[in-house]
Symmetry: C2
Subunit: 336 residues, 2 copies
């Protein structure tokens, strides 16, 4: 049963677990440090579709289908799909998943979406509202660039603080069987310290990551040292240094157990991604390709997974608004 | 506790209730048949803000604040806010609610969003994941027109099947006290019968409403005659006739207990709204201005509230995609 623990955290005593998962990615991600960890790498940015948006939908379908196939489930055995993405009106999710004919609960948390979909799935399963749920998200470099920045053909210059939107999807099946368990979730508040630079999302999101982590530590009476690994979503080089600093001022030293999914997905020395990876698919695919296998193999006993999102739109930025950030924390445990 | 009932429905045995609610609207809505029922009507489409998007954010803030004020609550007493809207990247919600500093779980269900946010809030409260949640949504004629259709200055012609996006917001506080209870929720599947006409959303959404209602009747062993009123979201004149017809083919006669929020909000004879009202704020404000007071006064014993959404974007339509619909049903009951 879900139970409140402090002001911001919910613990899940029935231990809903990730009974299956899959991650798929594009060519550039496949050439990165985690290239061999993905369930599939697509050399064609269009995945054989007519448009990039359809290709992003295909990424979600591929990830969810592969996660289900691994445990011999069909979509009709899921009670709910929780999904969201960066595209206007969540079209990657809707069009990617409509043929599965599973009740769909669209989520929006920008790049924090994987944390949000998994939190919803875990609370639904823990409470008895569902037995089996899918949770997933995606991003695609080409759909994000043209929607948020410039037409790809324009070849806009990128700032040193810019991040590279991952072409990837990660999907999990949450149920009550064997697998990494979801022990607690901590939903974040919107944090906005007034950053307006659309090329520095890491700085805009770092205060949210620090806020959520501090709440989680305080609510649970724990500290960074109680976790084998703490992984933020996609703060990149700039944002993860800020997060480290902000938490240190609150009295929490993250140390070398702290990593950022945006710094794991690409090799910044050779892959020209500037401050690191980003996009909903970044933390989702790093979780499903890298962390969940490590938890299953016992290389990590537990993980604090903290995806981060920047909740702006081009319209809000054009209207002079600052960039609000959000972050959600999930405690994943390998212990049965 | 949430308990599964059939394939698609969840019953809520702790009877989470709507302990407060409020609805605010724009000038045109204020001149309509429900004009006197709103908590506030704003003559200025900008609500004193610089942009329409900021005005839509202000609508959400006004609705939620008024709902909280009525029962003497402050935002800090809410554990979660569930909100979403039609704007790209949900900015009406994020920017409208960021100052409340309540953990925010962004939802996207297009015009079905009020059903989705209330379903999430009800399941969270019923399960113990939360004690008090806010659920709300909004739409604004001016933000929707320019984002989905044409610049307002262009003065585009409207088709007879077109609907008029409501400038409105509805907000509820879900908790465990006195109030209309939420007895069951039925989350819908995406239904897509291939409608591609962006000026006929009612037709695109009707199959989803019929699908969800048929599931709910079948799961609960009930029929239309067991409910005092069945209200779909914003199918308008065209879509509600289709919904009636589709359900009749499945053996369910809706009769005169069936109404559509899109047909209640405006006077179609005098207000030039063509097929009726639409937008997330349409069903949300009709629920909070008209139905919840009727339930409280005992004029209705129960209500099946079925908001409907069209999950397209201008990009998906430009790429030749059809318009997927979705609908969620909630059983609201006046009985303690």
């Amino acid at each position: 049963m879900p139970e409140r623990c402090g002001r911001y955290t919910v613990t899940l005593s029935n231990r809903p677990s990730i009974i299956s998962y899959a991650a798929v990615a594009g060519k550039k991600e496949g050439q990165g440090p985690l290239g061999r960890c993905f369930d599939a790498v697509f050399e064609d940015a269009r995945l054989g579709c007519k448009t990039w948006e359809q290709a992003e939908s295909a990424l979600q379908r591929e990830a969810m289908t592969r996660a289900l196939d691994k445990v011999g489930l069909s979509p009709s055995q899921l009670q709910y799909l929780f999904s969201g993405d960066l595209l206007n009106q969540n079209i990657a999710s809707t069009f990617g998943l409509r043929q599965m004919q599973v009740p769909l609960i669209g989520q929006f948390g920008a790049c924090s979406t994987m944390g949000q979909t998994m939190a919803m799935a875990a609370i639904f399963v823990d409470s008895g509202a569902a037995d089996l749920c899918g949770a997933l998200t995606s991003s695609h470099f080409c759909t994000a660039e043209r929607q948020f920045r410039y037409p790809l053909e324009y070849g806009g210059q990128r700032a040193p603080t810019s991040q590279w939107t991952a072409t990837a999807s990660g999907a999990v099946v949450v149920g009550r069987g064997q697998g990494v368990s979801i022990r607690a979730v901590c939903i974040g508040r919107v944090q906005d310290l007034g950053v307006t630079d659309m090329n520095n999302m890491g700085a805009a999101m770092a205060p949210a990551a620090a806020d959520t982590l501090a709440h989680f530590f305080s609510d649970t009476g724990t500290g960074p040292e109680d976790y084998d690994c703490i992984a933020t979503g996609d703060l990149g080089e700039v944002g993860s240094a800020l997060n480290r600093d902000l938490l240190s001022r609150k009295g929490y030293t993250l140390d070398d157990r702290y990593v950022d999914c945006g710094l794991l997905l690409f090799d910044r020395q050779t892959q020209d991604v500037h401050a690191g990876g980003s996009g909903c698919g970044c933390s989702a695919s790093v979780l499903c390709a890298y962390f969940l296998p490590r938890l299953e193999r016992g290389e990590l006993k537990n993980l604090l997974f903290v995806p981060t999102g920047a909740l702006m739109s081009p319209t809000s930025s054009q209207q002079g608004e600052s960039i609000p950030g959000i972050a959600h924390a999930l405690l994943l445990s390998a212990e049965k």
